[in-house]
């Protein structure tokens, strides 16, 4: 992973550390929404919501159209996917490792005791 990608990931996780921002992301996963629409379910002022949106925008998780008057927010799925991928990747590594460990333990206990480099060249 490149440094830029790592920074991006850090920023994404930071942004998602807040429950309100996670709820905003969840809402935007259903489709684009204006600030007013995003603010509706929360007991929060528009400037309060805007602050959260700025954090999400800065890390690239969401984008906002410049032209439209209501500037609907749009979820950048690729950025979210990168965060999901990173976590899934960690789980996958452990799952695959433990698959192999299970086989190794079975071999050990069945008395076949395979050694390293046992594979035929």
């Amino acid at each position: 992973m490149t440094l830029a990608a790592e920074d991006q990931l850090d920023a994404t996780f930071m942004a998602l550390a807040d429950p309100t921002r996670r709820a905003i992301v969840a809402r935007l996963a259903e489709g684009d929404a204006t600030v007013n629409e995003l603010a509706a379910p929360f007991d929060m002022t528009l400037p309060g919501i805007s602050k959260h949106l700025k954090v999400l925008e800065r890390c690239g998780l969401i984008s906002r159209t410049r032209r439209a008057q209501f500037r609907p927010c749009h979820l950048e799925a690729d950025v979210l996917d990168a965060a999901v991928d990173w976590i899934e990747e960690s789980r996958r590594v452990w799952a695959e490792r433990f698959d192999k460990l299970g086989t190794h333990l079975r071999d050990l206990q069945s008395g076949s005791h395979p050694r390293n480099g046992e594979d035929d060249e």
């Binding site: 550390a17 460990l101 050694r115």
Partner: protein
């Protein structure tokens, strides 16, 4: 099991093995064993490159080799705690990520290994991030996966 509250940025993973706890623990600290499973699918961890000094401050080094193209990924970690056969803790030098492996004797010849990965990115160490990030990473992954449709891959 863990009684600590869920730390910020945490991944939990458990697996049960049909083997006694002592043996499973040895597998995690002996190069001859590690070489058999440390690399995930398609990746080898040659025994000659595994360096293990299982005591606090001791090194845990491997070189992972991609079976397809031979590319190598050296990894380096330092043991924080070695409590045979119950617990093993190490910190990865490049990422600062800490891994805690807990070995539970299930009493019927089986052993459960629980992996807890904490301190994920540097950014999580700020107090604000820690206060906010109450969801464990794997639960969060499921949550995000549901959003992006990736959890089922």
């Amino acid at each position: 099991m863990n009684e600590q509250t869920t730390a910020p940025g945490e991944l939990n993973f458990s697996r049960r093995f049909d083997a006694p706890r002592e043996l499973v623990f040895r597998c995690l600290i002996e190069p001859e064993h590690l070489a058999h499973f440390w690399g995930p699918a398609g990746v080898s961890a040659p025994v000659e490159h595994i360096k293990v000094d299982p005591r606090p401050g001791g090194v845990f080094e491997t070189v992972m080799v991609n079976d397809a193209d031979g590319s190598q990924y050296p990894t380096r970690a330092v043991y924080v705690e070695v409590a045979e056969p119950e617990r093993l803790v190490w910190t990865e030098s490049h990422s600062g990520m800490t891994v805690t492996a807990t070995f539970t004797d299930l009493g019927d010849g089986r052993t459960e290994v629980h992996i807890r990965q904490t301190n994920v990115p540097e950014a999580f160490r700020s107090p604000q991030a820690q206060a906010g990030f109450l969801t464990s990473l794997d639960r969060f992954a499921a949550y995000l996966g549901g959003l992006s449709g990736k959890a089922t891959r």
